[in-house]
């Protein structure tokens, strides 16, 4: 068994239940996500992963239960408070979700324009630094998303997600549908980003069904099935789990 050192929970989920009409999507989930760690939530398609992510972001309200993020109960926050609070999150979407009318540079500059009062020089320094740190070359700064490869779009999406120095970085299916080389590149990028932001206490949460890719990079892995967490272990222990469903998923 891997030894679990003391960790400070940054996201606390208690008895989280979400129903859409008669359908129960999340069924009484309770677990913590720890500061400075990479946690992956695995599960089959339709298991409720995206619904869980939307609850963590405060985009959906639970039917029952509570979610506490950075010490704040999301249920008790108004829409306007939640809007402000979401600036603590950065997110890399499955297909990067870059604004297609803006260049790579402008995409990363966008949150800085919206939420900071940085000078033009400070913004330039920050945007160029972020783009270079994720491996985007200077000649690609002015390219539109349609002119970038899938891997480059992910890099720009990650740079945009990091622009406001988030406390929690979320990755939605970061490696799904990618070739092995790009998958490795994205994994390296996730680890590198987590390492570089460790001093700030940044936490990484990955939603995925790519078991091989995520087991390599995660500290903790949770397995979600039919709206329930059926296993939640350190990554090393998860690989050797006795749960038949997890065994099947890991050996697929």
């Amino acid at each position: 068994m891997q030894t679990i050192e003391y960790q400070e929970p940054i996201i606390q989920i208690k008895n989280l239940t979400k129903k859409f009409g008669e359908h129960t999507i999340l069924d009484g989930l309770s677990f913590d996500i720890y500061k400075n760690k990479i946690t992956t939530i695995l599960g089959f398609s339709g298991a409720g992963k995206s619904t869980l992510l939307k609850h963590i972001l405060g985009l959906l309200r639970p039917t029952e239960g509570s979610i506490t993020v950075l010490g704040k109960d999301l249920n008790k926050m108004s829409e306007v408070e939640l809007k402000e609070f979401r600036r603590n999150f950065g997110m890399l979407f499955q297909y990067a979700a870059l604004f297609d009318s803006l260049s790579a540079y402008e995409n990363v500059e966008f949150p800085l324009n919206e939420f900071t009062k940085l000078t033009e020089y400070e913004k330039k320094e920050r945007v160029e630094g972020l783009l270079r740190s994720v491996g985007i070359k200077d000649e690609s700064f002015k390219k539109l998303p349609s002119e970038l490869s899938g891997g480059m779009r992910k890099r720009v999406g990650l740079a945009r997600g990091l622009a406001l120095n988030p406390f929690i970085m979320l990755y939605d299916e970061p490696t799904t549908g990618l070739d092995p080389i790009t998958t490795k590149m994205v994994n390296d990028l996730i680890i590198d980003t987590a390492e570089r932001n460790k001093d700030r206490g940044m936490t990484t949460l990955i939603i995925s069904h790519d078991v091989r890719a995520t087991l390599k990079i995660s500290d903790f892995v949770a397995f979600l099935d039919h709206g329930k967490i059926v296993e939640y272990l350190p990554a090393e222990d998860f690989k050797n789990s006795d749960n038949p469903l997890v065994k099947e998923f890991v050996n697929l």
Binding site: L57, F93, Q94, Y95, A97, F110, E114, L170
Partner: protein, 262 residues
């Protein structure tokens, strides 16, 4: 009997579906008002949308306005000539353009062009998760995407309508005086005798409301898009159809109200 039962069930189903859709649209409208009057006010976005709506429609507005004025001049001239009031072509065309044809045709054109573009832009942002990206950043999608479009549309429509009216009047003047040989002096004296500033106001107020309706409908159907490119096409189509229907229906209600107060 079963045929009647089936028809009644289908009718009931359609009523429920349409009421549900109306409820969703009303909820969208309320959220629009809630977010529109909250900071930050993105003036630059409003201005760029204003330019977009104006640019997208200006050429076709001028073209339609000119030919509408010219056709109206011909039609009224030959009708009025039968009762010897052909000198009234100028004011009749001008009043019709100011009160009805200007705002309604401009509304229909903008619904077909800018309304469709709004639904397509927002719809494609929705299916590519760009709106989710905005929300995650703490930016409300309605405030960022719908508010600038609706505000700019409310102000662009009256200006486009005024341009339509002006170009239509030029067309009417050209046909009336140069082709149909109405005396230029009489044309203008009749125009100043029968055309009042209130007639202009009626059209511009209507245009303001049409601008609001077309853009709210266009952005609403953009936000409702689901299921990829096919969904974007369907949303765009609905935005155009419902935008045009609303222009025609609300024209009646606005006319019946404005005619009493102006």
């Amino acid at each position: 009997m079963s045929y009647i039962k089936g028809a009644v069930e289908k009718l009931g189903h359609n009523i429920v579906v349409n009421l549900y859709e109306l409820g969703k649209f009303t909820s969208f409208g309320l959220r629009f008002f809630y977010w529109t009057f909250r900071r930050p006010f993105r003036v630059r976005n409003i201005f760029s949308q204003f330019v977009f709506i104006g640019n997208k429609s200006l050429f076709i507005i001028c073209l339609s306005g000119a030919f509408t004025g010219m056709v109206m001049a011909y039609q009224t001239y030959f009708g009025f000539k039968l009762i010897n009031v052909d000198t009234l072509v100028g004011p009749i065309v001008s009043i019709t353009l100011a009160k009805e044809l200007g705002p309604v045709l401009t509304g229909l054109i903008v619904a077909g062009r800018a309304g469709a573009a709004m639904a397509a832009q927002i719809g494609s942002m929705k299916v590519t998760e760009q709106i989710d990206a905005l929300e995650v950043m703490g930016i409300n999608g309605i405030q960022y995407l719908a508010t600038p479009r609706v505000i700019s549309s409310c102000f662009a429509l009256p200006i486009l309508t005024a341009i339509f009216q002006f170009v239509g009047n030029v067309g009417s003047y050209f046909i009336g005086t140069k082709v149909l040989n109405i005396d230029e002096g009489i044309y203008f004296s009749k125009l100043s005798e029968f055309m009042y500033i209130e007639d202009m106001w009626q059209g511009l107020i209507k245009a303001f409301f049409f601008g609001f309706l077309i853009s709210l409908i266009g952005t609403y159907f953009g936000f409702q898009v689901k299921r990829g490119a096919e969904g974007v096409g369907r949303g765009t189509n609905k935005a155009v159809v419902w935008g045009m229907i609303n222009v025609l229906v609300w024209d009646y209600f606005l006319t019946s109200y404005l005619i009493k107060i102006l």
